[in-house]
């Protein structure tokens, strides 16, 4: 499978900020959830910055949904920033915005 994907993360209080770079597919989605699961007990909010990811397939979306469900069970929330218009439309159709939100910036969540 393609491995054209990188992820970096930072913690700001109870907020996990993940910045992705590349195709969010099975490999990318797995890495996002893996990173999320490392911090799950210490966070209530997650920000996924997709500035450098212009393409997300439905397998990648299924991982994002999994993360949203876990966060919802723990009264947490997922935010997306820097969404490409095509990805934003994709997320809308796949129903991600029923439980997650689009934010203007990372700062607006971690402040």
């Amino acid at each position: 499978m393609s491995t054209d994907f990188n992820i970096t993360s930072e913690i700001h209080n109870d907020v996990l900020v993940m910045k992705t770079d590349g195709y969010v597919n099975n490999t990318g989605g797995e890495q996002i959830v893996l990173e999320f699961s490392k911090h799950i007990n210490n966070i209530s909010k997650v920000v996924v910055d997709l500035e450098k990811s212009k393409v997300v397939n439905s397998i990648g979306i299924s991982y994002l949904l999994e993360m949203i469900e876990t966060l919802n069970q723990n009264n947490g929330k997922l935010y997306f920033v820097n969404l490409d218009p095509t990805i934003e439309k994709t997320f809308k159709i796949m129903g991600l915005f029923q439980f997650a939100e689009k934010a203007d910036s990372i700062d607006s969540i971690i402040k």
């Binding site: 499978m1 597919n25 099975n26 212009k54 159709i93």
Partner: protein
């Protein structure tokens, strides 16, 4: 009436069974359900050692679930091999109870219950409670499966809507691009996403030489050879304009790895490929149409320039008859002729042809025309005039442009002709006695070389009855459908046979003869000629 104590005890427990059910149906994963069920069993029976196991099918292996435990291989002997619920109770064994619960998805839950903390055996109440808890587990598990099915159904439906939306959006976006590479990059990115392909490749091959002209991959860093090595691939192909375009999708992704592509994926790939083909064809046709429009505009401009330079009327020369013609071809050439009255009975007779066609040729003729009028003012020798024109045209034209040029300065009173031929077809004189003279003295075409080599000239006398005939290569090189030229020989023969005609009639006749030769073929070059007869 006195109630059965067992029934009474069970009714008191009913609420806790209800709570147990509510706890289990809130779980989002199978692991969570079994973990909660483990705690329910421990709480109900006050047992420390409970092992929960699960196997996906009859033939699958048992795996611990819900909690960690110390499972010995021999422990599995407690579990029944029958596909129905069987609960067994034991005394003085490692476990007090064991059971296998068949689940609705053909998987099985195995339960091994150790000794109660107080050391007592399972009572009738315990046994009934266990039956009820198993029922609660089975119901909660069914609910969990239904939730999963519902989620999958919604996800699949959304995915189909997304595919359709992406297909429409992609088609619209592809039609907007006019650069082939950007178009193909977008197309493979979109089709990879729509079909959940792990990677994609487009190979563009030149069909004339078999060379691979370009390979575009998605993701862009994946080497093309890696994509083609994969197990699951589908492809689509089209040819256009001597190029082939092969689209390959590789490794359809699932959460569990990769799988083969579906028929729907193939249809989607073909749909996107067809859209790319249509866009590339449209781009090509648009470019062709714009180029045609540009050439047409250039040609009409060139024609307009040429027609302003070529004289509408030739001067009257006492004792002579003069006629000339220029019939431009569809691709306007750079032919030029003129007769300029220099006063005192002296006239400059010019015939020229620029190498090349279109606007650049017309502009060069325009330059020649302006320079010629300027230099003729100074009454300089015709060879010096040719030198000056050569230097000017050499400097003001690109290396592949030059002008073949013939000039004759006529003293109409004496009949003296001073000529220079700068690389042009020979001027012809037909003497009254039937002699033919070819005038070739001069040098190279104007603007071809600037080596400082002076042009040479030659003088002739035009006597009464003599005819001077100048022309461009559009006459001898006029071709018919068999690509046969009119030829110098036929032109000279025609000139010699018809030289007695009045110049106006002669011009009409030779044009008619050339056209008769050309027939239905297109006129490939301007037809220009000029004839002067001393009467």
């Amino acid at each position: 009436m006195k109630q059965n104590p067992l029934v009474e005890k069970l009714s008191l427990q009913a609420e806790s069974f209800q709570e147990a059910f509510e706890t289990l149906i809130k779980c989002n994963t199978f692991g969570e359900i079994t973990k909660n069920f483990y705690h329910l069993l421990r709480g109900n029976f006050l047992v420390t050692n409970i092992l929960l196991l699960h196997k996906a099918s009859v033939d699958a292996e048992w795996k611990l679930t819900g909690t960690k435990g110390d499972l010995k291989k021999s422990d599995l002997n407690y579990l029944s091999h029958k596909n129905q619920l069987i609960i067994k109770y034991y005394k003085k064994r490692k476990f007090d109870a064991s059971l296998v619960l068949p689940l609705s998805d053909s998987s099985y839950l195995g339960v091994l219950i150790g000794h109660k903390l107080d050391g007592s055996d399972f009572s009738v109440f315990d046994k009934i409670s266990l039956q009820i808890l198993l029922q609660v587990f089975a119901s909660a598990y069914n609910s969990f499966l239904n939730q999963q099915k519902e989620k999958k159904l919604i996800f699949d439906l959304n995915e189909k809507v997304l595919q359709l939306n992406n297909l429409i959006d992609t088609a619209i976006e592809l039609s907007r691009f006019d650069k082939q590479n950007v178009l193909i990059e977008l197309a493979i990115e979109r089709i990879a996403v729509i079909t959940n392909a792990s990677s994609a490749l487009v190979t563009i091959k030149n069909l004339d030489n078999g060379r691979v002209e370009d390979q575009i991959t998605f993701p862009s860093l994946i080497p093309s050879e890696n994509i083609l090595k994969n197990k699951f691939m589908i492809e689509s192909y089209f040819e256009f304009n001597s190029m082939s375009y092969r689209f390959v999708l590789s490794e359809k992704e699932t959460r569990k790895g990769t799988t083969s592509f579906s028929h729907l994926d193939e249809l989607l790939l073909h749909a996107i490929t067809r859209q790319v083909q249509a866009s590339i064809e449209n781009e090509f046709l648009l470019k062709q149409s714009l180029e045609k429009e540009r050439i047409q505009k250039e040609m009409s401009l060139a024609a307009a320039i040429q027609q302003t330079i070529i004289p509408k009327e030739l001067p009257k020369i006492e004792g002579y008859e003069l006629a000339g013609i220029n019939i431009p071809s569809r691709e306007v050439g750079g032919d030029y002729y003129d007769c300029i009255d220099l006063g005192k009975g002296v006239f400059a007779i010019i015939m020229a042809d620029v190498a090349g066609k279109g606007i650049s040729a017309a502009l060069l003729v325009s330059t020649l025309n302006a320079a010629l009028y300027s230099y003729l003012e100074f009454n300089i020798p015709v060879t010096e005039l040719a030198d000056k024109l050569n230097r000017l045209i050499y400097k003001s034209s690109p290396p592949d442009k030059y002008i073949t040029f013939f000039i004759a300065i006529l003293n109409s009173k004496t009949g003296e002709l001073k000529i220079v031929n700068a690389g042009h077809n020979p001027g012809l004189i037909s003497r009254h006695d039937g002699t033919l003279i070819k005038m070739e003295a001069g040098g190279t075409g104007l603007g071809m070389l600037d080596l400082g080599i002076p042009y040479t000239g030659e003088n002739f006398i035009l006597n009464k009855g003599d005819k001077l005939f100048l022309y461009t290569d559009g006459i001898p090189e006029a071709m018919n459908k068999n690509e046969e030229e009119y030829s110098d020989k036929r032109m000279i023969d025609f000139f010699m046979k018809n030289a007695n005609l009045a110049p106006t009639k002669y011009i009409k006749s030779i044009v008619a003869d050339v056209k008769a030769h050309v027939g239905d073929a297109d006129q490939s070059d301007d037809i220009t000629s000029l004839i002067l007869k001393r009467i």
